[in-house]
Symmetry: C2
Subunit: 246 residues, 2 copies
Amino acid sequence: MSRYKAIIAYDGTLFAGFQRQSRTRTIQEELEITLTKINNNHPITVQGAGRTDKGVHAYGQVIHFDFPYLKNIEKLRFALDTQTPEDISVKSVEIVPNDWHARFTPHEKTYEFYVQITKPRNPFKRYYSSYFPYKLELKRIEKAIQYLEGTHDFTGFTASGSSVMEKIRTIYEAKVQLYEDGLLFTFRGDGFLYKQIRIMVGTLLKIGNSRLEPTQILKILEEKNRSLTGPTAHPEGLFLKEVKYI
Amino acid sequence: MSRYKAIIAYDGTLFAGFQRQSRTRTIQEELEITLTKINNNHPITVQGAGRTDKGVHAYGQVIHFDFPYLKNIEKLRFALDTQTPEDISVKSVEIVPNDWHARFTPHEKTYEFYVQITKPRNPFKRYYSSYFPYKLELKRIEKAIQYLEGTHDFTGFTASGSSVMEKIRTIYEAKVQLYEDGLLFTFRGDGFLYKQIRIMVGTLLKIGNSRLEPTQILKILEEKNRSLTGPTAHPEGLFLKEVKYI
């Protein structure tokens, strides 16, 4: 048995998310169907570094899977890349130790969130950005976003529906910059809770729009109260950029 | 009666092309449906600067239409932008003289053609680029592309099926550059024949791949023989960038 790590990219538009579910199209299922075919129809299971939601994209999701025998890694990468649908691409494959795990081996994740802020809506970005064509003060967002850096209990920034008990996470870097016709948010941390980034972005936009104060971030962290946040930003703007194992 | 000029952008992926046809979705029809609705269901006809084929995109297509009465142009732009489907956006609207014509008033058009040349295929560009992951010598393409500039009979570079008799056109600028994970071709001219840009790009790629000599361009122009060209490049890579009235 050999364990393989692969870095994949996907356009999340036509998927119900990463994780396998019955009766919907998922990235995990497409990968497993293809790997199982390559393995002469003996089932192969895929583990992802993280679950991305419906509509969320990835430039650098990481997965692992076990194969009963040794494969040429470039041939395997090519087969997996070309035999999966064209909205998934397989960028690299390597052999890793048998106890290496895409999800449980320590790592940091970087997400980007893109918001178009100009009018009219760019038709080429309708599936790849959120849209906020309202008054925004970048300085307010810059001030607020720095409060997110560090180790905090992010209970106030997560949606119900997650089974994760431990809500303490560390954000190493949180920044916002002007990019093309909008704002690009970058968040790098040791992990993120269910919908955390989309709720953080929704809150930051509301702060930029002057309907909340920058210090609202501190209040949400302290009071751990979801009802103090802004709305959850749309999933199309979110990209899993990189998973880096430490 | 007032005549209006509008600059529009569209993602051509889900359209059968610009021009109205029965039983398929076209940009012209979507615009006419919306304008007719705005005009209390009295029919409005749209004229485009050029027809783009199925799958071809536009950043700056120009149209004109007549309205029986004067409208506030920003209100009209907003209504047209927001009431058309989200793969069409309306960037600007202005009033023009009644004899101004999107197609017949003299103008130059700029098209861009984007080809991804790296592996693996970028899933985010599958509808917005052609793909050529083979050996390419940029110098060969640079040499060949300059032969296209100037006034020529482009009969050899057009597909049958066009009713246009006059095949002499002027290309003011033809260039290629490395851009992101591929090549970006730019063509600016007084007009282009049916499939001309896609055939030029297909031929240039074959030259870059050393299966034709750069001087093949001169031969095709001279002999006016379509069978000497390369294949027609895929429509997804083609963008109508700008229409500039002189």
